[in-house]
Amino acid sequence: MGEFDFSVWQPSLPFIRDGLLFTLRLTLVAMSGGIVIGTLLALARLSPIVPLARVAGAYVDLMRSIPLVLVILWFFLVIPFITGSPVGAETSAIITFTAFEAAFYCEIMRSGIQSVPRGQVNAAFALGLGQAQTMIHVILPQAVRNMLPVLLTQTIVLFQDTSLVYAIGAKDMLKAADVVGKNYNRPVEMIVLSALIYFTICFSLSLAVKQLQKRVAIIR
């Protein structure tokens, strides 16, 4: 092999772009689905209905105690059994990440909901708002605002973790880099390229989160 040859980056770009698009799609779907399901899980965990709280708690504990890569493999093998037909690595990855991230977003939303002072709930109740109205109009908006930096940081972690779909052969950015690297016999150069792309995106996002944190701090 000898010297590095970064000229391989040029022909790899279309593949990298397609891979990156899947990585971003996976991140966005898992984030939005994860936040919605995670919020519902958080409401279930905080619910006075004990069996509901237990089931949600067990789900969250289970997901948070298994390495992600195992969950990815496990879903890939189990989903076809449930649906009766193979779903493909990409669909499987999207389902897995949404289900897995929901557990983490759940815990973030739960502490967000608990961070809203009791007095706010009393004020909403005193105005005649019901439980659901209070949750939707008073508690959740404040919970999301209080937790916004943490929610976004979790999303950055999620973006990095999507590279694990490599384990089931889904065509994300890392997989694309891997394939090109093998075809051109330049694996190291391609790994460097994907690392650079991951770094650039994650680092700019965390700078953006820091900025946002400052702005949110001023509004409060």
């Binding site: 706010q120 009393n122 004020a123 109740f125 005193a126 005649g128 708002l129 404040q142």
Partner: protein, 242 residues
Amino acid sequence: MIEIRNVSKWYGQTQVLKDCSTHVAKGEVVVVCGPSGSGKSTLIKCVNGLEPFAQGTITVDGISVSDPKTDLPRLRARVGMVFQHFELFPHMSVEQNLVLAQVKVLGRSAEEAVARGAALLDRVGLREHAAKFPGQLSGGQQQRVAIARALAMDPICLLFDEPTSALDPEMIGEVLDVMVELAQEGMTMMCVTHEMGFARKVAKRVVFMDHGEIVEDAPTNAFFDAPASERAKTFLSRILHH
């Protein structure tokens, strides 16, 4: 209007309300005072069911608060409450704070609610602050918005839970002025407060509580001129000569 009969409440083993009975007639102002930890805030929160109680009954306009069949949100919508720490919704503008429950609970149109809100803001002298957020207002201004928010529901009575205790001294007056005005217009009010000047000016009766008990329930002048109990005497001498 408000009837409190033999109400008792426990937190675990500790009894925080002991057989409390009093009432507030329509158009009356009743001030509840007493040392901290005497149960006055707990009692007033029982009136609109924010705090449950184990024994006794409370009725507001003839409707029982503790009856499981009572539509509590509907009853609460008719009973305004103002809190020590204002409890405006910090993620909403002043206008939105005033509009939310009018639209969601009373089913008013947005236009109607905004107009009603604006009229009430005008009344508490804060019309030009409608677009601001609570965090941009002083404590006194926030509490006046909170009063306007309660009034926007056209309540049949108002509950005040230490409305001036969290305010800087120079802001207490502006809030009390609004309260005095309401009282003089005939609003039925139950006020937990240490503002004895306010009590003297507008209260029909003063209820004095200590250790979860109603120790005295007397016409205002009688309470200040000749408190019957030692505990009330001690309390008054402390609060009036500090």
